[in-house]
Amino acid sequence: MTSTPTDVRRSPAPTLVTSRERRKKKPPSLKRARTFYLFVAPWVLGFVGLTVFPLGYAFWLSLTDSDGLSPRTHFVGFDNYLEVFRDPLTLSSLGRTGLFALITVPLSILAGLLLAVMLNQPIRGRGLLRGLIYLPAVVPPVGAALTFRLIFDRDAGAANGILSGLGSNPITWLVDPNVRYVLYALVLWGCGGSMIISLAGLQDIPKELQEAALVDGASYWQSFTRITVPLLSPVILFQVITGIIGSLQSFAPLLLSSGTLSGAGTVPQGNYLYMIHVFAQYFSAARFGYASAMLWLLFGVILLVTLVILKVSARTVFYTVEPEGRR
C-alpha cells in the first residue's frame, strides 16, 4: 500500500535558497529604504525639475547675452560675471543692501526679543497683546508696503497730518534721504514674527535655572545675560541667518513702498537695493543674461555670509543638544 500524498511527511525545507526566492525575501533595511525613496520621490522629482534644472538653466543664461525675447542669443562666457564687478550701480546697490541688512536684522531681532521678554511675563491681556503685535507679520508684504506708502505720502499721508497738527512742516518721506527710514520702519513694523520665535525659545528655557540663579543672588540682568541669552543663542542664530537672507533678497516692499510697479527706475536711490537693480536689469533693460549672473552672485554672497556666520557661531552659540546629536 502506498501512502497518499497527504500522508507524506515532508522533510524540513532545504537551506539552499533559489535566486528567485532570494529576490523575494529582501532584508528589512532594503525594504525600508525602498519605501523611503518612494515617499520622497515626489519631492526629489520636484526639487530636480523645479529647482536644480532651472538653476542650471539660469546659470547657462548668465553665460549669454539673452534679452529674453530676441531669437539672437550669444554665448559670452563669464563676461556678465566680470561686468558685475565693473558696474558701479551693481556694487553700490550691493553695498546698500549689506548696510540695510546690518541695520535691520539686529534691530528687528532686538525688538522681537525685547517684546518677547516683556510678553513672557505674567501680565494681564498678554495673549491679546501678543496677537496684536504679531498681526503685522501676517499682513502680506504687498499690503504692508502700500499702507506705508499711504501713511507717508507727503501731502495726503497720516504721518504728515500728525506733524502738521503739531505745527511742523510736511516731510517728503518717500524720497531721498528720508525714504530709507520709512523702509526701516516698515521692516520693524513686522518684528512680531521675530517676537514669536524668541517667545517660543524663551518658553523652552527651564525656569529652574533662572530660579536657582536668583536664589544664588544673581540680579535679573545677570540671569538674563548669563542664562537666558546663552540658552536662546541657537534661536538668535536662526533669526540672524534667515533675517540676513531675507534682507539680501528684499524686493517687493522696496518697489511698492517707494516706487511704482511700472519700473524699478522710480525707486529712490536710498531704497535702490540689489534686487531692485536685478529687477531693472531683467525687466527694464531686458538683460536676462546679466541679471542671471547678478542672481548667481547674490547666491554666492548669501552662501558665504551663512558659512561665515555658522563658523563664527560655533564659539558663541550654546546648544543643549550638540548639532551632531551628542548631548
Binding site: 523645479l50 529647482t51 534644472f53 532651472p54 538653476l55 542650471g56 538653466y57 539660469a58 543664461l61 549669454t64 547675452d65 539673452s66 534679452d67 529674453g68 525675447l69 530676441s70 531669437p71 539672437r72 542669443t73 550669444h74 505720502d153 507727503r154 501731502d155 495726503a156 504728515n160 502738521s164 512742516n169 510736511p170 518717500l174 524720497v175 531721498d176 533678497q249 524686493f251 517687493a252 511704482t260 510697479l261 511700472s262 519700473g263 524699478a264 527706475g265 522710480t266 529712490p268 536711490q269 535702490y272 534686487m275 536685478v278 529687477f279 531693472a280 531683467y282 525687466f283 527694464s284 533693460a285 531686458a286 538683460r287 536676462f288 541679471a291 542671471s292 542672481l295 548667481w296 547674490l298
Partner: protein, 457 residues
C-alpha cells in the same frame, strides 16, 4: 486657415525652466528665454469670422476689461479672456513662449523694440484682407506702428492705435485760474514755455510748505519723451538718425533740460522728488488740485460724464520754445499688437479688428477718448457739450502741426526713464548742474543703446 499650436518643444521647455530658475534664485522674478518664433501662417479674417477658440487680451481694465471681453465673446463667438497689463508679467510671458494673444502697447515707443526682436507679428496680411479697416481710411498716426528695421513710419505694420492724441497739448482748470486771478490763456496760440512756467508758479497753491494745488504738470507720458519733444520744439533732436545714440548736451536739448529743472526746482508740480500720489493726472485734475496738465485730447473723455469739470476744463495747443518751428507730437499712439508666438492668431485678429474698428472704436470716438485712428470715425468726435466743441476746434487746429519722433529699437523707454529717474534728484537738488545731468544721462543711455545694439547683432 492654417493655425498650428506648438506643443512643448525642447526649447520652450528650457525657457519655462529658466523662468522658474530665476524666480527660485531671485525670490520674486520670473524670467526665461525663448525666441518668439512661430510657424503660423497669417490668414486674415473679418468680423464675424470663423475664428474659434480662446483669445487672451492683455490690457488695462479701463480699456479692454472683462466688460469688453464679454462683448467680444458674444459678438465674435469666441472665448475672450483678459489679463491686466503689466510689463513684468508680459516680459515673463513672452520669454516663456506663452504670451497673450493680443497686447496693449504704445506704438510710438514700443514698435521699433518689438519689431527688431521679431516679437511682434507682421499684421500687413491681416490688414490687407480686413473688411473693417481699409487702407485709405487709416490715419497717418498709425505709421508709428510701422518699422522697417531702420526707421519708424515705414515697413510692415506691427500694430494699430486704438486712439491717439497730440500728447504735449495742455488742459487747464479755469476755476483755478480765476481763483488765482490769472487771465485764461489763448486757445489759438501756443504758450511759450517760459510763460507756461510762470503760469505754473502763479497757479500753485500752498498751505505752509504743503502744495495743495499743483500749478503745472509737464511730465506727460515720460520725462525722456517730454525732453525729446521739448528739444524738437527748440529746433534740435535728442536721438541720432541711426537711432543708436542720444545727445542731451546739445544747446537745444540743454534748453529743454534747463527748463525742466527750473520747473522741478520751483516745486510747483509732480516730480521724481515729489510724485503725485494718484499716479496720474486724472484724479488730481478732477479734484481741482492741478491747474495745468500735459495731456492730449483723450483726457477730455474724463469730463464727458463729469458735469462739474466739463465746465472748467479747456484744451490748449502744445507749448513751444518759439524757434519758429511749431511742433505738436504724438508720444503714444496707444493700441494693440499681436505677439508672434501667439497660438490663435486668426481669432486674435478678429478681436483686434472688432476692438479697433468695430463697435468699441465707435463708442470711444463718440466718448471723446482720443482721436480715432480711422478717418471715417473722426466725424464721431463729440461736440455736444460746450467744452467738447471748444476742444474739438482746438484739436482740429492743432492737427496741422502734428509731428512724430522716431524711437530707438535698442532700448526700452523704461530703461531710459530709469536712468533719468536716478540722475534727476541730484540735478533738482542742485548737486549737479543741467549740463552735468545732460552729460550723465547721455553717457548712460548711450551705453544702454550700445549694449542693446550689440545684442541685436
Amino acid at each position: 486657415m492654417t493655425t498650428t499650436t506648438p506643443g512643448l518643444s525642447r526649447r520652450r521647455f528650457l525657457a519655462i525652466g529658466g523662468a522658474v530658475a530665476a524666480s527660485t534664485a531671485g525670490g520674486a522674478l520670473a524670467v526665461g528665454c525663448s525666441p518668439a518664433s512661430s510657424t503660423n501662417t497669417p490668414v486674415a479674417t473679418g468680423s464675424g469670422s470663423s475664428a474659434k477658440g480662446v483669445v487672451t487680451v492683455m490690457s488695462q481694465a479701463g480699456e479692454f476689461g472683462p466688460k469688453e471681453a464679454k462683448a467680444a465673446s458674444q459678438t465674435l463667438g469666441l472665448t475672450v479672456k483678459t489679463v491686466e497689463y503689466d510689463l513684468t508679467k508680459l516680459t515673463a510671458m513672452l520669454a516663456s513662449g506663452n504670451p497673450p494673444d493680443v497686447v496693449r502697447g504704445m506704438g510710438a515707443t514700443d514698435t521699433p523694440y518689438l519689431a527688431a526682436r521679431q516679437v511682434a507679428e507682421d499684421l500687413d496680411p491681416y490688414f490687407a484682407k480686413s473688411s473693417l479697416i481699409k487702407a485709405d481710411d487709416i490715419d497717418p498716426v498709425n505709421d508709428l506702428w510701422r518699422f522697417d528695421g531702420q526707421k519708424q513710419g515705414a515697413g510692415p505694420r506691427y500694430g494699430f492705435a486704438k486712439d491717439y492724441s497730440q500728447d504735449a497739448m495742455l488742459w487747464y482748470n479755469s476755476a483755478l485760474f480765476d481763483a488765482a486771478k490769472v487771465a485764461h490763456p489763448s486757445s489759438a496760440e501756443p504758450l511759450p514755455f517760459d510763460e507756461l512756467l510762470d503760469l505754473g508758479q502763479r497757479l500753485t497753491k500752498r498751505q505752509g510748505a504743503k502744495v495743495s494745488v499743483y500749478g503745472l504738470n509737464p511730465n506727460g507720458l515720460s520725462v525722456f519723451i517730454t525732453l525729446c519733444g521739448m528739444t524738437a520744439s527748440a529746433g534740435g533732436k535728442v536721438l541720432a538718425d541711426d537711432l543708436a545714440s542720444v545727445d542731451l548736451s546739445s544747446p537745444e536739448a540743454l534748453r529743454a533740460v534747463t527748463w525742466y529743472l527750473d520747473y522741478a526746482k520751483a516745486g510747483i508740480g509732480p516730480t521724481v522728488l515729489n510724485p503725485d500720489p494718484n499716479g496720474w493726472d486724472g484724479p488730481t485734475f478732477q479734484a481741482g488740485r492741478m491747474a495745468i496738465a500735459t495731456d492730449g485730447y483723450w483726457f477730455g473723455g474724463l469730463f464727458g460724464t463729469d458735469a462739474k469739470n466739463a465746465k472748467l476744463a479747456h484744451l490748449l495747443p502744445a507749448p513751444q520754445f518759439g524757434t519758429g518751428q511749431r511742433i505738436s507730437p504724438c508720444y503714444g499712439a496707444t493700441g494693440l499688437w499681436m505677439p508672434k508666438a501667439g497660438k490663435n492668431k486668426d481669432a486674435a485678429w478678429a478681436v483686434m479688428e472688432w476692438f479697433l474698428a468695430g463697435a468699441p472704436a465707435k463708442a470711444r470716438a463718440a466718448g471723446g477718448w482720443g482721436i480715432p485712428p480711422l478717418k471715417s470715425l473722426q466725424k464721431l468726435m463729440p461736440q455736444t457739450q460746450p467744452f467738447q466743441k471748444e476742444a474739438y476746434q482746438v484739436q482740429m487746429a492743432e492737427q496741422k502741426h502734428f509731428s512724430v519722433m522716431s524711437f530707438t529699437p535698442f532700448a526700452r523707454l523704461d530703461a531710459i526713464d530709469g536712468i533719468i529717474g536716478r540722475e534727476l534728484p541730484k540735478a533738482i537738488k542742485g548737486t549737479s548742474s543741467a549740463a552735468q545731468f545732460a552729460d550723465a544721462v547721455t553717457k548712460q543711455v548711450n551705453e544702454q543703446l550700445a549694449d542693446g545694439k550689440k545684442r541685436l547683432r
